[in-house]
Every structure is written in C-alpha cells, then in structure tokens.
C-alpha cells in the first residue's frame, strides 16, 4: 500500500480509530492490531511477501533469546551467524542472485571462457533491504550485550513489521523502538498534531516536487545522447531534488504516521543539501542507514585496520561506501555511486592532521550557525553529490559515462524544456527548509516559533490546495526498489 494512495487514505483512519477508541483497553491488543494492520499494509503488494518477513521474524526472535541465554562465546557466535546467514541469504537470493550470476558470466566471457547467460525470474520483495537490516541489528546488539531480547513475540513481530517504516525505513534500532511497544502509549495531542504537519509536509514533497520532477528527469535520462550539456546538467540537478523530496517525503510521512500512534522514530534527514562537506552530508542524509553502516560495518573494519593509520581508516570507509552502494541496488552503477562518495573522503581524511576541524554538527536540532562563506562550500558539496547521482540514476555505467562526457566536453548551453513550475516548487521547499533548519521538519511549529496561528492555517490550506491542483502523476517511491 502506498502512502500517497486512496487505500492508505481509508486504511489509516480505520486503524487509528480502532487503536485509540475501540481496542485501547489493553496494550497487548493494541500491539496485535498494529501487527495485523502492518501485515495487511505489506500484503497489499503481494501476499507471498508476508511469508518471508514472518520467517525472518520467527527466526530472529528465537535466535535473539538463544544468543542472550548462551554463555559460551563460540555458541553465541554460531547463533549470531545463523541470523546473519539467514537474513543475508534472503537478501542475496532475492536481490543479488541475477546480478552476481551476470557479473560472473561476463567476467568469464571476458577472459575467453564462453558461458551462456542464465537468470531466474525473481521478484524483489518490497522493503527487504530495510527489514533485514533492522532484524540483523537486533541480533548483533544482543550479541554485543548492548540489548536484552524481548520475550514478547507480538511486540517483536510488530517492531519488525510496523507499517509506517516497514518498506522504506527509517531503519529503526531495537534499542529505540522495541521498548515503545512494551509500554503503554498515551494519546499526545501535541505529538499527533506535529505528526499530521509532518505528514502534510512529506506529502507536499512527494506529490508536488518529486512527482512533478520525475517526467522531466525520466525523459532526459532515457535519451541523454540527444540532449545538450545544459539540459543534462539541469536534468541531474532536478533529479537531486526529486530523490530528496521523494525519499525524505516518504520519511516525513512515516515519522508523522508513527506519531499519530504515539511512537517516536529517530530522525532520518537533517536538511542534507545545506551540508558544507561530504562528511556533513552523510550525517544529514538517510541517517538511519549511515548510522547502521557506521556501527556494524565501518567501525568494526576501522578498528581492525587501525594500525594502518589514515590509510586503514580510508580503506574501511571506502569498503563501507561500496557496501552502501550495493545495498541500494544490484548493479555496478550503485557500486560506483558508493565508491565515488568514498573517494570524496580522501581530502577529508588525508589533508588535515586531525579530522575534527572539518567534521561538523551531529545532526542535533539546535539551529546550526551558517556564515556567508559557507555558501560556496554548500554549492560545491551539492554539485559533488549531483555527479554521483548520474551513476545512481543512469540505466548502465556506459550511459552514466556518456552523460558525463557530454557535460564536460560540450560547450555549455541553455537547457531546453526547463520545468519552471517544478523549479518554483523546489525554491519554495528550499526556502522553507532554510528558515526551518533548526527544526525537525519543514512544517514544525513549536513554542519558539513566531508564526501566528492564522498564518499557519494559510500555509496548511495552501499546501492542501497545491497538492490537489498540482500533484504530479502518481509515481512509486524511489526507495521502494531498494
């Protein structure tokens, strides 16, 4: 079920009413309701997907308890590997099987060993990369004795499948989300209203910005060789805003929905396009994935490589970004996208004696102080990110290289078919976010906000009208494919 669909528009109020007004007597019944609702939400795509998530849930529930109750380190490791092997196996088969087979055959063919192409018709279950990462972190944290597993199976199953964040995150950690299923939730008016505002803001980003940018970007990438360099530059810049509006819009709706049910998710985006360097960008973009990779991939690798000093840290970082690329999609374009981000850290790591002078705020909610000299740094960081998006969006590595070649070899020209309407919406988005950069989302009004109530209502009504009048043709959320 899509957030921006008619079904969800019906589904959400029904679940909300049952949750707060009908089945509100017992916590366990509320959790059962959320679990059933989550399975309905997920099964809406394809009922067969449910078997995989249920299997993963049952296995990780028992493995979690086993790891916790076992003292012998070897046996603990054995149980951990069972969980990791199963989840990575699911991912490997459903997401990467054909990619690995294709790459293998191409490699053999290139050295003269002839092999016939072979592939299986595998459907990628929606959200598999998200929930497998969530359950893996559960087992890993228990193994590190940083988390005590729950015996409450329904709470655990709901934690894995909770519909607001099931298909495209945020990838929640058990340490934050699981305890929220185990204690009584109270309806908090303020939280719920803020949730509604965040949902409205997310919907605006998705249906007004992302869906309106999509046709322009699709046309350019589908036929890049016929375009001028100016059009190609604008195409990738528009894509940068499309993907940001699409994914952070989804996240806003997810966080807002969770708030309606009394849950608090961790923040996933912190106005990433205001970043002044690549390290800051990764502290502000898809925070739940980057912190996951940081905790379970980068840090263990860097600790093992620490005797190699800066080279060791860079190697760990580069490998982490390659894995991040592969997480996004089974293709060389994504691996190169990740690799480029890794390479961008070379000046960050090697140029200074210490890393501190370039590392910045940790995504807190305090209003970050920017100075005028930050503007060129922001633009440069944005353009560097745009360059990687060419690989992210292109159908193949050859297409991406062709696209870049035209940009850098042809004389700059004014782009054709400029989507002025979309650009106007992008300007509105970025202006609002600039003024709201100290807040959690673009439409948050709390005690220290000096926006009068009548003006707030003008903003809400304008956004609803914009959504009704200017919504683009419904597009699937980009991150659903991952």
């Amino acid at each position: 079920m899509l957030f921006n669909s008619f079904e969800f528009f019906i589904f959400l109020p029904i679940v909300f009413a049952l949750y707060w007004f009908v089945l509100n007597k017992k916590l366990s019944i509320q959790n059962v309701l959320l679990l059933v609702a989550s399975y309905v939400f997920y099964g809406w795509w394809d009922v067969r997907f449910l078997s995989l998530i249920m299997l993963s849930t049952i296995l990780d529930y028992f493995v979690g308890l086993k790891i916790h109750n076992t003292e012998e380190p070897k046996k603990r490791k054995y149980w951990l590997w069972l969980s990791m092997g199963f989840n990575l196996g699911l991912l490997g088969f459903f997401k990467y099987f054909n990619f690995f087979v294709d790459s293998w055959i191409t490699a053999f063919n290139s050295i003269g060993v002839k092999m016939d192409p072979f592939s299986l018709n595998i459907i990628l279950p929606v959200g598999i990369s998200f929930y497998t990462f969530q359950t893996m972190s559960y087992s890993l944290d228990i193994h590190k004795r940083k988390l005590v597993p729950t015996k409450n199976f329904v709470a655990f199953a709901t934690f894995v499948a909770f519909f607001p964040q099931l298909v495209a995150g945020p990838i929640e950690r058990a340490s934050n989300l699981l305890p929220q299923f185990l204690k009584r939730r109270k309806f908090d008016n303020k939280l719920a209203i803020d949730g509604l505002r965040q949902m409205l803001w997310g919907l605006f980003k998705k249906v007004i910005i992302a869906d309106n940018c999509a046709p322009y970007v699709n046309d350019i990438f589908a036929d890049y060789s016929a375009q001028s360099s100016g059009t190609l530059i604008l195409g990738v810049i528009v894509f940068a805003f499309q993907i940001y509006a699409d994914f952070s819009g989804y996240t806003d709706i997810a966080i807002g929905t969770a708030r309606l049910f009394g849950f608090d998710f961790k923040r996933n985006f912190n106005f990433p396009y205001f970043s002044r360097n690549i390290s800051e960008f990764w502290k502000r973009w898809h925070i739940s994935l980057s912190s996951w990779l940081n905790d379970y991939v980068f840090t263990p690798l860097a600790i093992n490589f620490r005797n190699y000093k800066k080279q060791g840290i860079f190697a760990a970082l580069f490998l982490t970004f390659l894995i991040s690329g592969l997480w996004h999609g089974a293709g060389w374009t994504f691996i190169i996208w990740g690799g480029l981000h890794g390479l961008y850290y070379i000046p960050v790591i090697f140029s200074k004696k210490r890393f501190t002078s370039i590392s910045t705020n940790k995504g807190g909610s305090k209003k970050q102080e920017f100075v005028i000299s930050d503007v060129p740094k922001m633009i440069l960081t944005f353009l560097m990110v745009c360059l990687t998006y060419i690989f992210f969006r292109a159908a193949s590595v050859a297409d991406a290289l062709g696209y870049i070649k035209i940009i850098f070899t042809e004389l700059p020209s004014w782009p054709s078919g400029v989507p002025y309407k979309s650009i106007l919406f992008i300007i509105i988005l970025m202006t609002a976010e600039w003024f709201q950069r100290g807040k959690e989302h673009g439409l948050q009004f709390n005690e220290d906000t000096r926006v009068p109530v009548y003006l707030r209502w003008i903003i809400y009504i304008s956004l609803v009208l914009l959504i009704l009048i200017f919504s683009g043709e419904q597009q699937q959320f980009i991150y659903f494919q991952f």
Partner: protein, 77 residues
Amino acid sequence: MSNYIAEFETLFRDVLENDDIVLTNETTAHDIEEWDSINHIYLVVEIEKHFKIKFSSSEILQWQNVGEMIQSVEAQK
C-alpha cells in the same frame, strides 16, 4: 580511577581539539560533538599508544561510555 579520567581528558582534548571537554564515567559519544566514528578510531589509537596497551576488537565494540573504556585500560594495568 580519577587519575585515568584526567589522562583520558587530556587525550580527548588533544585528539578532538577542544579544550572544554570534561569527562565523567558516563560520558558517551552523544555528549561530545567532535566525537564521531572517525575520531573514535583516532582516540582508540592514541589511548593504546599512551598506555602502551592493545585492546581486542570485540572489547572496543562493546564500550558504551568513557567508564567502560577506562575499565578496559585498568584491566591491562
């Protein structure tokens, strides 16, 4: 223990280039802006160098706060 805290504080201030850092046993990476994942590795390296010890990888990964880091040093002294 208090001696170690003082030594840790000096190391933290040096690596994180912030003379205002004050440590307690309960301090975590969330409390210090400059203490991010990359600087964490530099901190580990400097602590090992300063105390002339070597931590195991699994030990490092289990640390939750400064107090646990100090316990790891004490265990080897």
